[in-house]
Symmetry: none
Subunit: 401 residues, 2 copies
């Protein structure tokens, strides 16, 4: 019996509101021995007050030592086991450009590449062509028609594109065509199971047509296909939790991840203030809100410690506006750590703050990594965070008599 089975069985309806505020890549590291992390360095009076009355802990997104991408990181926060539900690269890329993937869609991440006179790959990224060139080439490719299937080709950025085949019954198990090296021919798309034969055949036809269409577009005179996959069959948020959920996320990737678990994706504007306004306007329409803040991650990826500190302080500043709505449960956390020192996602456990009337107090008075270590939530798998939020919202029945 999985924890989802249990939640399906125990979920209750009431009028409570839950807000999950995700500061992407929130966790960090000190730059020097004995120093403080970005979160510990930031002046966060509102988060600290919330930490004092709420309960802290550290979540492990996947497993100890495993660094998650945005997909597994968010699935974990949404209460889905990231090892059970895997999202293919093509699917994530499609979600990332706000493409509304349906159940009949196979999504493919494409890389424009350069072919030499013999048809061998001479550059796997087509000289990193500019985004506007990629866009024009995608528009050409989007005109290709294949009988019995809808084809969508969309630019992502520079040499990256997304291809979607839409038809009933297409399997998603087709091997990459990227040979991962130069000086060799691109690979043929090969089905990895019988149900994906037709998908492979469609890909073959599409690649043949595309080779014609792009033949004069050197350095981007072809492309390779990677991460071919369908969106996974994921139980919906409303089915598992009985929650009507709205996502207030600015960036397409996170809107897409929310859509994957069937949240309503709301117009979030561009800024934290826009997001708060949306939250206020939609407050009565949903039981649960996922609010996503990107800049703690992007500043971490940039290795810009002071900028990440500043972004955390900006988040702290809008907290009162969220609290004014009086959510029954307010969770502030990240989907993973992104220490500026490492300029990348990391495996370090993620600071987590949960505030509700039913919190058992711990001794914590500041929101920070060291303080979270002595928090009442302890260290816990991120996939149980939603269960805790549901419990504090009074939305779970007792298990067994």
């Amino acid at each position: 019996m999985t924890h989802h089975d249990l939640l399906r069985e125990l979920q209750l309806k009431n009028n409570s509101k839950i807000v999950l505020l995700v500061a992407d890549g929130l966790g960090g590291l000190p730059l020097t021995p004995g120093g403080q992390t970005e979160l510990e360095t930031a002046r966060t009076p509102n988060l600290d007050a919330l930490a004092t009355r709420g309960v802290l802990g550290l979540s492990t997104p996947v497993l100890p030592g495993i660094t998650p991408g945005s997909g597994p990181g968010h699935l974990g926060l949404f209460g889905y086991d990231p090892l059970e539900f895997r999202i293919g690269r093509g699917v994530l890329e499609a979600l990332g450009i706000d493409f509304d993937l349906g159940p009949n869609d196979v999504a493919i991440r494409g890389n424009f590449c350069s072919l030499d006179a013999e048809g061998k790959i001479s550059d796997r990224r087509a000289g990193r062509i500019a985004s506007d060139i990629g866009k024009k080439l995608c528009a050409k490719l989007d005109k290709i028609t294949i009988p019995g299937v809808e084809v969508f080709v969309r630019p992502v950025k520079e040499y990256r594109l997304v291809i979607v085949f839409r038809a009933a019954g297409l399997g998603g198990a087709v091997a990459d065509t990227d040979p991962q090296k130069t000086g060799v021919l691109p690979l043929d798309p090969v089905a990895k199971d019988p149900g994906s034969q037709r998908t492979a055949e469609i890909a073959r036809q599409f690649l043949a047509r595309a080779r014609e269409v792009l033949k004069d577009d050197f350095p981007a005179n072809f492309f390779t296909m990677r991460g071919i996959d369908k969106r996974p069959a994921i139980p919906t948020f409303s089915e598992v939790y009985g929650l009507k959920a709205g996502a207030v996320a600015v960036y397409p990737m996170y809107r897409g991840l929310a859509r994957l678990v069937s949240m309503d994706v709301l117009d979030a504007g561009q800024t934290l203030e826009d997001q708060c306004a949306r939250l206020e306007q939609s407050w009565n329409d949903y039981d649960f809100f996922f609010m996503h803040y990107k800049y703690t991650d992007s500043t971490g990826e940039d290795g810009n410690f002071p900028a990440k500190v500043e972004r955390i302080e900006q988040l702290d500043a809008v907290l009162p506006r969220i609290q004014a709505l009086k959510p029954d449960v307010l969770v502030v956390t990240g989907d993973h750590s992104t220490p500026s020192k490492m300029k990348s996602h990391s495996w370090h456990p993620v600071p987590t703050l949960l505030a509700a009337e039913t919190c058992r107090p711990d001794a914590c008075t500041r929101f920070g990594e060291q303080e979270c270590l002595r928090g009442g939530l302890g260290q816990f798998p991120a996939k149980y965070l939603m269960t805790l939020a549901m419990a504090h919202a009074g939305r779970l029945e007792k298990y067994g008599a």
Copy 2:
């Protein structure tokens, strides 16, 4: 390989004694922000001294955020995964009235209800009839005979009753007959698997006879059936741990739960003093004692904070009498939390104290929720508590060479 498989393999015999003292619903919450829990408020010099030389921690009965009933709560403490071993409502109800359920028994929780002239349910609880009326009606129903099966009908309280069908080969998978609403006919008992067809047929015959027997007993002129089930196939305590176990519990439900894992149920009298006397008298007869104290839960359920504090202090007062027996391992814990503030069971982790010669000391000097947060046992699934007790009793071999 489950942890039970491991324990079966590694268990050793010696002369050690383990006492598991369960203060039901022990964990709590402060009434006001910054306040203390019931356990933290109570003056507990004996528990504190034990905490100082022992090791503390917090156990999670089922999963983070999941509130357990008494059944799953105790199964966890006894070392059984409460998600693997589920106890049906009928079984728990039968255990709760000290009915000795055997392997050929199907137990059913009944609710007396009122039927109108058309046979539709007009009151699902028969106007909450008094217990003595329920008792008389059960005595009438108990006389019904069905060929090839023994039938037992026992009153519980007010409109609640237990029905047991005893015959070899009866399956326990039969759907409830309670439609969960009024103005409709009771449902027929329907088998959920082929092996339960006969049980459903017996239930149908019994209900037909009962309808006759009760026809003049409005408002309790019928009853519905719920939680139809057999006792689960549970490995015995002696098989898993190699322990000869005795239960010293006053309340039937907990005696029943102990019986479920094949502990000997001892005469426990009515008071803590009676229980201590039983412990002393039976000390040489058992390796393991489960001693159950109900009042920390019932005062919590009543929302009576000071009464729960007092009950904890009463438990503390008898501790020296238990310690005088010099158990090799003494565990004091609860099966779940029951904060007076919530007047109900809750999901909050459960304070746990383990004292033995082999404890690695932590810095804890008081038995209380916050102190447990920095205890050496950390936060751990309750199902591993017995493994820890066995280890400290020197009853587990090394795993692997």
